[in-house]
C-alpha cells in the first residue's frame, strides 16, 4: 500500500500543529462554538450525544498491521477499548475527550494516519471496492488513482468550504462494489476500445433525505483528466449549490434543479478552461503511485490444495465459513477472507482493541501485513493462501471474528444511531441486535441466503437504508422512536431505491416484521431466487399484505 514520503509526512505533522492550536484557542475561549465547528469537523471531530466522536480516515479502506495496532492502542488509551468501523471505511471513536484529540492525531501521524476531511463540508475520504487489486473480475486496480485523488483533495483550497459534504467513489470492476452511483461523484475505470485507461463519470448520486442514483455526465474521460474534470464539477457546485438550506445543499439537488444536460453543459464549459492545466495527472505520477499497490511476492501455487479440500469436506463449520467468508482471488491458490464484525447480538462494525491486535497479527502472519475495511463494516485479509485458511479460521473464531454470516441476513449494515449520534431520530444498534437474535440459527440463515439489511437512525442515511434489500429507517413520531421499512433497494450496477411498505413500527415489532418479510420470501421464491429477485418479481404487495395482516389472536386479546 501507499507509503508516505517526507512531503506526505510533513503535511500530516503540520496539520497536527495547526489543529492543536485551534483546539487551544477554542478551550481558551478565543474561538466561539460556531467558529470552532467547521475547524474541528475538518479534523473528524463531531460533538455527539454523550461525548465527542472522532472519525479517523482509512483512505480507500487500506490499513497496515502497524496502523491497526496503533488504532487498537488509541482505542484503549483514549476511549473505551473499542472502535467502530463505519460504512465510509473509516474508524470512529465514540468516547474520546476533546482535550485529548490533538494528542490522538499526533499518535496517528506517527503511523501515517490522520482524520483530515473525514467530516465537514469538504471532499471526504475517497472510497473504493474492498477487493481492489485482487478481484478476478477487476479491469483496473483503482487504488493508485484513489491515492492520487486523496492527495489532490487534501486541503484543496478552492473546495475547503463547500455547500455540503462531498463524497467520491472509484471502482475498477464491471460489478460495482463501490456503489459509485450513490456518490456525489462516481468514477468507474475501464479500458476503452483503444485499450487505454478511461473513466465513466457519474454525478449527483446520494442517499440521505432525497435518495437519487447518479447520472452519467461523461461516458469517456481519459484518466489524465480525472482531477481537472472533478475540479470543473465541484467548481460549478461550489458556486451554484444551495447554501440556504442544509437539506437542499448536496450536489444532487443542483443537478436535479438544472437537469443533467444543463449541468453537464456548465461543467464542460468550465472544463474547457481547466483541461490540460498543471493538475493534469502525468504518466510518471501514475507510475510512481502504482508501484505501491499489488506488488506482493505471491507464491506460485496450484489452484487447489488437497489438505484444504479435505478439511472442508470433513469439517462442516469450517466449510460454512469458507463458503460465506472467503472470496475468489485473481492469483491461483489464494483467497480473500472477510473477518466478520457482525457477531449476533453485538453492534455491527464494532471491534475491541484486542480484536484489532488479533487482526493485525493475522494480517502480518498470513496476508503481507495489510488489510482492508469494507463498507459493509467488516475487515478483510486480502491475500491468504488456501493452505493457511484453516489456521486463520481457528484464530478468528477464537476471537469472535468468524461468524459465517457474510452477505447473510445478520450481516447488517447499521449506522451508530440514537445511542451515539445527536442527529438520530431513533436507535439503530438495538434493532440490529434484536434482528440478529431473531435469526440466530445458521442453517436457517444459509437457507435464506444472500440478502442485505441496512439500518439508518435518521434521514441522513449513513446506514444506506435506501439500497438495502430490506431498509429500516428511524423516524420520529410525536417524540417517540418508530421504524419505517422499505424493500427492494439494491446497490451495484442494477441499483434501485427501496419502496416503503407502509406505516412505521415500534422497536419491539421490528424482529417480527423482518421475520414476516422473510416468510413471504421463503414461501414465494423459486429455487434460484434471492430475496431481492422475489421482491422485484412480485412487487411489494404480497409482503405488505402479510406484514400488516391483522393478527386475530392479538385482536381478541385486546378486544
Amino acid at each position: 500500500m501507499y507509503k508516505y514520503d517526507a512531503i506526505d509526512q510533513k503535511i500530516v505533522d503540520e496539520r497536527v500543529t495547526q489543529y492543536r492550536d485551534q483546539t487551544r484557542r477554542y478551550l481558551a475561549g478565543e474561538l466561539s462554538e460556531d467558529e470552532f465547528r467547521p475547524l474541528r469537523l475538518q479534523n473528524g471531530l463531531y460533538i455527539q450525544r454523550h461525548a465527542p466522536m472522532l472519525r479517523i480516515a482509512v483512505p480507500y479502506g487500506m490499513l497496515s498491521s502497524k496502523q491497526l495496532r496503533k488504532l487498537g492502542d488509541i482505542a484503549k488509551k483514549y476511549d473505551k477499548d473499542y472502535g467502530h468501523f463505519s460504512t465510509r471505511q473509516n474508524l470512529q471513536l465514540n468516547w474520546p475527550k476533546l482535550e485529548d484529540t490533538p494528542d490522538i492525531l499526533a499518535e496517528l501521524a506517527t503511523v501515517e494516519m490522520h482524520a483530515i476531511q473525514t467530516s465537514g463540508n469538504c471532499i471526504r475520504n475517497i472510497t473504493t471496492d474492498q477487493f481492489a487489486g485482487i478481484a478476478p473480475d477487476e479491469i483496473i486496480d483503482p487504488r493508485a488513482m484513489a491515492e492520487i485523488m486523496r492527495q489532490w483533495s487534501t486541503f484543496h483550497p478552492e473546495f475547503a468550504l463547500l455547500p455540503r459534504k462531498f463524497k467520491i467513489a472509484v471502482s475498477g470492476t464491471k460489478d460495482d462494489r463501490a456503489v459509485v452511483q450513490a456518490h456525489d461523484i462516481g468514477m468507474e475505470f475501464y479500458k476503452d476500445a483503444a485499450g487505454k485507461l478511461a473513466i465513466k463519470v457519474w454525478v449527483g448520486g446520494g442517499l440521505g433525505r432525497t435518495p437519487i442514483l447518479g447520472s452519467v455526465i461523461r461516458e469517456h474521460l481519459e484518466w489524465q483528466h480525472a482531477l481537472t474534470y472533478c475540479e470543473a464539477i465541484i467548481r460549478v457546485y461550489n458556486l451554484h449549490g444551495r447554501r440556504d438550506n442544509i437539506y437542499k445543499a448536496r450536489i444532487k439537488i443542483l443537478v436535479k434543479a438544472l437537469g443533467i444536460e444543463e449541468f453537464k453543459r456548465q461543467v464542460e464549459a468550465e472544463w474547457a478552461h481547466l483541461k490540460d492545466a498543471p493538475n493534469t495527472i502525468t504518466e510518471a505520477e501514475l507510475a510512481r503511485v502504482s508501484t505501491y499497490f499489488g506488488v506482493f511476492d505471491y507464491a506460485k501455487l496450484p489452484a487447489y490444495d488437497a489438505s484444504f479440500d479435505a478439511t472442508v469436506a470433513s469439517n462442516p463449520a469450517f466449510a460454512a465459513w469458507v463458503k460465506r467468508c472467503t472470496h475468489a482471488h485473481k492469483i491461483p491458490g489464494y483467497r480473500a477472507v472477510t473477518l466478520s464484525l457482525k457477531p449476533h447480538g453485538k453492534a455491527p462494525g464494532d471491534a475491541t482493541s484486542a480484536q484489532m491486535h488479533t487482526v493485525a497479527d493475522l494480517a502480518e502472519a498470513y496476508s503481507f501485513g495489510e488489510l482492508r475495511v469494507s463498507h459493509e463494516q467488516n475487515l478483510i485479509l486480502a491475500d491468504v493462501k488456501l493452505s493457511d485458511l484453516f489456521a486463520v479460521w481457528e484464530k478468528a473464531r477464537a476471537n469472535g471474528l468468524a461468524t459465517p454470516n457474510i452477505g447473510l441476513l445478520t450481516d447488517i449494515i447499521c449506522c451508530p444511531g440514537g445511542d451515539f449520534c445527536s442527529l438520530a431520530n431513533a436507535k439503530s444498534i438495538p434493532i440490529a441486535e434484536a434482528i440478529q437474535m431473531q435469526f440466530d440459527n445458521l442453517d436457517y440463515l444459509h437457507d435464506i441466503g444472500d440478502i442485505e439489511l441496512n439500518i439508518s437512525g435518521c434521514m441522513n442515511a449513513c446506514g444506506h437504508h435506501h439500497v438495502g434489500h430490506i431498509g429500516i429507517l428511524g423516524v420520529d413520531k410525536d417524540g417517540s422512536e418508530w421504524y419505517q421499512v422499505s424493500i427492494g433497494g439494491k446497490q451495484g450496477n442494477d441499483a434501485s431505491i427501496g419502496a416503503v411498505i407502509g406505516p412505521s413500527f415500534s422497536a419491539e415489532e421490528m424482529p417480527q416484521v423482518v421475520q414476516k418479510l422473510i416468510d413471504v420470501y421463503v414461501k414465494e421464491r423459486t429455487p434460484e431466487e434471492r430475496f431481492i429477485d422475489t421482491v422485484r418479481r412480485l412487487g411489494i404487495a404480497p409482503f405488505k399484505a402479510h406484514v400488516y395482516a391483522r393478527d386475530p389472536a392479538k385482536e381478541s386479546a385486546t378486544a
Binding site: 514520503d5 512531503i7 510533513k10 503535511i11 503540520e14 496539520r15 495547526q18 485551534q22 460556531d34 467558529e35 467547521p38 475547524l39 463540508n121 492527495q151 489532490w152 483533495s153 487534501t154 486541503f155 484543496h156 483550497p157 478552492e158 473546495f159 475547503a160 468550504l161 463547500l162 455547500p163 482531477l227 467548481r235 461550489n238 458556486l239 451554484h240 449549490g241 444551495r242 447554501r243 440556504d244 438550506n245 443542483l254 434543479a257 478552461h273 492545466a277 498543471p278 493538475n279 495527472i281 502525468t282 510518471a284 505520477e285 510512481r288
Partner: protein
C-alpha cells in the same frame, strides 16, 4: 492597530499594514423578503436577496479619498465615478453570490481596477475561493484582491492559495495573530493560484 494583512507576492511576505481604502456599504434593503408557497421569490438558487434600486440610489459615497464601491452601485453610477476610476482611486467589491461576468462586463480591461474586494458574509461560505481563483486564472486580474467580512485566520491559507493578496480580519480579532496562519502548510499537494504546479510537478518524488 490595523486589521489588514497584505501579502506581497514578490517577496512572499505578509505584514499588517494600514488600510488606505474606504469601503462603501449599501444601505439596508427595505423590501421585505417575498415568499411564495414557502419559496423565496427574490432569491437566486443559492438564496440571497438582490440589490434594490432604492438601495443603490441611497448609497452615500464619500466625496474624496480612495473608495471601494459595491458592484451594483458602480454599474448604476459609472459616469459619475469615471474620474475617480481614471485616478486609480476607485475599487469595486462584490458579494459571494454575485457573478464575475457582471463585473467583467463593466470593463474593457479588468486591470484598470487597482483593487477588487470580495465580501464573505459567513465563514462557511466557500464561494469566495472559486471567485478568487477565477479572477486570477480566467480573467487575468493582477492587482490587489481583498477578502473582507467574516474573515478569520483559519481561512487565510485557503484564501492566499485562491489568489487573494489582502485580508481584512474581522474587527474583533487580531490581524497580528492571524498572520502565522498564512503558512500553515509548507508544501501543498495540488496546484492552485499561488502555486499552479501540483506536488508531482514540483518535486521528483520517486
Amino acid at each position: 492597530m490595523s486589521n489588514l494583512i497584505k501579502f506581497d507576492i514578490e517577496n512572499k511576505k505578509a505584514s499588517v499594514v494600514e488600510n488606505e481604502w474606504q469601503c462603501v456599504e449599501l444601505p439596508p434593503s427595505e423590501v421585505a423578503e417575498r415568499v411564495q408557497a414557502g419559496k423565496v421569490v427574490l432569491f437566486k438558487l443559492t438564496g440571497e436577496n438582490t440589490v434594490t434600486e432604492a438601495q443603490i440610489a441611497n448609497t452615500v459615497i464619500p466625496a474624496t479619498g480612495k473608495v471601494i464601491v459595491p458592484l451594483s452601485v458602480y454599474a448604476a453610477k459609472k459616469d459619475a465615478l469615471a474620474e475617480r476610476m481614471d485616478a486609480s482611486a476607485l475599487g469595486i467589491w462584490l458579494d459571494t453570490h454575485e457573478t464575475l461576468e457582471s463585473l467583467i462586463a463593466q470593463f474593457d480591461d479588468i486591470n484598470r481596477l487597482p483593487i477588487i474586494a470580495i465580501h464573505v458574509a459567513r465563514f462557511a461560505d466557500g464561494r469566495i475561493f472559486s471567485l478568487g481563483t477565477l479572477l486570477r486564472t480566467r480573467y487575468g486580474y493582477k492587482n490587489e484582491l481583498r477578502a473582507f467580512g467574516d474573515v478569520l485566520r483559519d481561512q487565510l491559507f485557503f484564501l492566499k492559495r485562491s489568489g487573494f493578496t489582502s485580508f481584512l480580519i474581522r474587527a474583533d480579532r487580531s490581524a497580528d495573530e492571524a498572520l502565522a496562519s498564512l503558512n500553515d502548510f509548507s508544501a501543498p499537494y495540488q496546484g492552485a493560484v499561488d502555486e499552479p504546479k501540483p506536488v508531482f510537478q514540483r518535486y521528483n518524488r520517486a
